[in-house]
């Protein structure tokens, strides 16, 4: 392709960064799919994507510069303008705002000036960082030759400023995220806190890779039958039967790809982070199992850019598995070939949507694709693709070892197995909880030490979910139970708010979240989420156009159009929290 470039030249440093990335490209996938890794590498070392660096990357990868700019300018963690090298992203999303997040933002503003200002050090508001059990959360990114980034629990002003200046952070042990730590009945969480996440030996000693060995003996067909018998439903939010998805991929001719969706970013969701930080090899083994069963030769693990520690563990685990023959051309002599590419997101909630994720991996803007065709038919690089959430996948080893029927006996008829719940908000012991499907909301909140204060409402399913009232606490936390209660289990966010919480502020933050995170591709969502935010602002300010009733009618129409006409689930669910709150709570009545 004949490309045209502006006159800006890359610095030797930028050239070296790009060249190093290019040197590790696989030859069997389109080179454009290395665009995001290249941009992230430039961002981490240089602190921004300069015109010269962009030109160089564009030329080397053969992607037009306007196109590269469109991609770079899509992600919140990439900057197309020169900015400070040290950046703090402070979570002021729904779980953190009232637990010090908003105060921390104010303190940062006092110390460093307005968001985005500052020569050497700056800060930004951030959407949920997936560390809700340790609110308030902050992500620090220090660019430079020795780039580093870290997710900080229970962030406070002094230490945060010190870390921005180069101090090392103090980490909380992973078991502080698991209030049930030590409980012998845990299944999915059993290893977390008991093994060294770096150690393959620890993993194997604690039962790791037993399922994969068993699968190699059973053969792929037998594993498929067990997964189907388990009635395992996807844990990413849509609850699609995993067996049916796998069967559908297998029915299409190869090459096939596997994608592990680790772009956990639904506000209030942090279960996958805990798994990846505590038991990274389990994710790798589960991916190999899925690939073996569905005949995939290459897998992509798409990890959200805000999880640097998980990245460190997973990247090391992949190297170890390659070295120890658990990944590669002939895994443990089984004749099965499989490898994993670890890919990072760069700050875009929408990339958790499966088809947006495919576009992001391919080096395009993370805009969802229209379905059909479904990824099982036309997925990554146009090939049949299995896409499963981290939690879905880590259920597979247990299904292989104990059998699909035994798995299906846990939980309820339609929601089988155990589930990881993300409990945060006004609760005594926030954290990731594992329980068999069927546990009620009341039981889970009791397990979490009870609500702090008088319960006003519980948000189920995150920003894309809905509210339930204190009268609905006996709702079983199953896919079907939540639906009956007029909510959704989604990614299993359980966030109680006490009566000191201003639900209007929660709704406004959710509305801002959707405005910030809509990809902007389709009209109903791109403009709809803005109109929704404006409408809620008018109601909060008691300045409705017409009256409260006409505004509610307008919100209903907006919600209907976004549900009916948007391309993807972001638009489909963008109004659900607001609509459920308005139908259940008298929060916007005329004063």
């Amino acid at each position: 392709m004949d490309l045209h470039f502006t006159s800006e030249q890359a610095t030797p440093q930028e050239q070296a960064i790009v060249d190093a990335q290019v040197a590790r490209m696989r030859g069997d996938i389109p080179q454009r799919s290395y665009l995001l890794p290249v941009l992230i590498a430039i961002q981490q070392r240089v602190g921004w994507i300069s015109p010269g660096g962009l030109n160089y990357a564009s030329n080397v990868l053969g992607v037009p510069p306007a196109d590269v700019y469109g991609v770079a300018d899509f992600y919140a963690l990439l900057s197309t303008k020169a900015q400070a090298l040290n950046v703090a992203h402070i979570c002021d999303d729904i779980a953190c705002a009232n637990r010090g997040g908003a105060a921390l933002c104010a303190a940062m503003e006092a110390a460093l000036g307005p968001a985005g200002a500052g020569e050497a050090t700056t800060w930004h508001h951030s959407p949920c960082l997936g560390l809700c059990e340790h609110a308030p959360a902050a992500l620090v990114a220090r660019a430079g030759e020795t780039a580093s980034s870290m997710l900080l629990p229970r962030a406070t002003t002094g230490p945060l400023l010190a870390i921005l200046a180069g101090a090392e952070p103090v980490r909380l042990p992973i078991e502080t995220s698991l209030p049930q730590f030590g409980d012998a009945s845990l299944k999915l969480l059993r290893r977390i806190g008991h093994v060294d996440p770096f150690s393959l030996t620890d993993y194997e000693r604690s039962g790791g890779f037993a399922a994969l060995r068993r699968a190699f003996e059973m053969g792929a067909d037998a594993v498929m039958r067990e997964v189907e018998a388990s009635k395992l439903a996807g844990r990413g939010g849509a609850a699609f039967p995993a067996g049916a998805k796998w069967r559908s991929v297998l029915a299409n001719p190869g090459p096939r790809y596997l994608v592990c969706n680790a772009d956990e970013s639904e506000p209030g969701t942090f279960k996958d982070r805990a798994v990846m930080e505590g038991d990274p090899y389990a994710v790798i083994e589960a991916m190999i199992l899925a690939a073996f069963t569905t005949g995939c030769e290459l897998g992509f693990l798409y990890l959200r850019g805000e999880y640097p520690l998980a990245h460190q563990y997973l990247s090391y685990a992949i190297e170890q598995c390659r070295a120890q023959d658990w990944l590669g051309a002939n895994i443990q002599g089984s004749g099965f070939l499989f490898d994993i590419e670890l890919r990072s997101g760069a700050g875009a909630y929408i990339c958790g949507e499966e088809t947006a994720m495919l576009n992001s991996i391919e080096g395009y803007r993370g805009e969802p694709r229209n379905k059909p065709p479904f990824p099982t038919q036309v997925g990554l690089f146009g090939k049949p693709t299995v896409i499963n959430n981290v939690e879905t996948l880590i259920n597979i080893p247990g299904i292989v070892l104990e059998g699909g029927a035994a798995y299906a006996a846990i939980g309820t008829e339609r929601s089988t197995g155990t589930k990881l719940y993300c409990v945060s908000g006004d609760v005594s012991r926030p954290g990731v909880y594992e329980a068999a499907f069927g546990i009620t909301l009341r039981e889970l909140l009791t397990l979490a030490g009870g609500v702090v204060g008088n319960l006003q409402a519980v948000l189920l399913g995150g920003a894309a979910g809905g509210f339930v009232t204190p009268e609905q606490l006996d709702t079983p936390l199953t896919f079907e139970g939540c639906r009956t209660a007029g909510a959704t289990l989604g990614s299993a966010v359980v966030m109680p708010f006490n009566d000191q919480t201003d639900l209007r502020q929660v709704l406004l933050r959710i509305a801002a979240f959707f405005r910030d995170e809509s990809c902007g591709q389709c009209v109903p969502c791109r403009v709809g989420v803005v109109r929704q935010q404006e409408l809620l602002q008018r109601l909060s300010a008691s300045a409705p156009i017409g009256d409260v009733a006409s505004e509610r009618a307008l919100l209903k129409e907006l919600g209907q159009a976004m549900r009916d006409a948007s391309i993807c689930a972001l638009g489909h669910t963008a109004s659900s929290a607001a609509e459920s709150a308005l139908s259940k709570f008298a929060i916007f009545q005329p004063r």
């Binding site: 306007a66 303008k81 009209v523 159009a561 006409a565």
Partner: protein, 338 residues
């Protein structure tokens, strides 16, 4: 004309080209066999058959149903982003875009149900409340048809300053502080005038992606522009918003040809509109063949008061499907020098 194909084989069926098919140089290619399989479906209760691979919009057109479109154009790949062409499909939870959804046997489609009308009206209201549609007559016709009232979202917010929207940072938190919630955010902004041939008035842009497609793989393969930014701040941009004169733009003007709202406009038309002299009712349109090269593109010459004011090309013309190059599109200024 040769009797054999490029690989030397004698074609089994040699279809005679019809008058609309350009005769290629060299041996005739084997034309793809015509789709034999027809798909039967029901649209608004009426039975209709379309060839396999056809989309729902083709089915509606066979029944003379006028499905509104904004981002769809016959000579571009459907991007299905505007969502105005959505229809109700039995068994589908959400509405489906008729421009790209393939017809399947037994489908039951509704094109004018309550849900369809609501979504279409809402798309029009969302756009018209945020974008200047004053030079988009078709859009205004749709607004009348669906009873759209964009003003119910409140008065439009103040326009952005020059470069403000181009500097927007993705995901960077819009708390709504600093602007009154009583106004509706819009994309209003100053016009970009950076060359003598055409202007870019992105306050009129509905982000239909057509210009990006025409600049890229669907026509010109120049890739001077792309969608940048995210969400409501998404916009059409060169790299780092550099002027067109520094970009890869070759001034073919095919982006103008596909723009549905007049956001991309001949400088000649833009200047005449600004001067109040633009008058389409006083214009004639004459088809001719471009004199510059041997390709033979059809030009439609728009003339007002004995002067060429712009040149377009009919999309139906078979040579380049309405796409032109800089010479055909803009190389007529000398005619006006009399």
């Amino acid at each position: 004309m040769s009797e054999t194909t490029r690989n030397g084989a004698t074609p089994l069926v040699q279809l005679a080209p019809d008058a609309m098919t350009p005769i290629p140089r060299g041996p005739l290619p084997i034309l793809p066999s015509r789709p034999s399989k027809m798909i039967d479906l029901t649209v608004d209760g009426r039975a209709v058959s379309v060839p396999e691979g056809a989309t729902l919009i083709e089915a509606t057109r066979r029944l003379s149903i006028d499905t509104p479109t904004l981002c769809f154009l016959e000579n571009l790949t459907p991007v299905n982003v505007c969502r105005i062409c959505v229809v109700e499909l039995e068994g589908s939870r959400a509405l489906v875009p008729s421009c790209s959804r393939k017809a399947e046997a037994g489908m039951k489609v509704l094109t004018d149900s309550e849900r369809v009308r609501l979504s279409r009206r809402m798309v029009l209201e969302l756009l018209a409340s945020s974008v200047d549609v004053s030079t988009a007559p078709q859009f205004q016709e749709y607004m009348r048809r669906y009873g759209a009232h964009p003003e119910r979202f409140g008065a439009a917010a103040a326009p952005a300053n020059e470069g403000e929207r181009d500097a927007a940072v993705p995901g960077r938190h819009h708390t709504g502080h600093g602007h009154s919630a009583a106004t509706a955010a819009s994309v209003a902004q100053p016009v970009k005038v950076d060359n003598d041939l055409y202007v870019r008035d992105y306050g009129k842009c509905i982000l239909c992606y057509k210009c990006v497609e025409a600049c890229g793989e669907d026509a010109q393969n120049t890739f001077a522009i792309a969608v940048a930014g995210r969400g409501f701040d998404a916009r059409i941009s060169t790299e780092y918003n550099v002027p067109l004169t520094e970009s890869a733009c070759v001034y073919c003007g095919n982006c103008i040809g596909v723009c549905p709202t007049g956001a991309l406009m001949f400088k000649s038309e833009f200047d005449m509109r600004a001067a109040g002299t633009w008058n389409e009712t006083a214009q004639t349109q004459t088809n001719t063949i471009c004199p510059y090269c041997g390709v033979g593109c059809t030009l439609t010459v728009h003339v007002q008061a004995d002067k060429i004011v712009k040149v377009t090309s009919p999309m139906e013309q078979p040579v380049t499907n309405g796409h032109l190059c800089i010479k055909g599109r803009f190389g007529w200024e000398w005619v006006n020098q009399r």
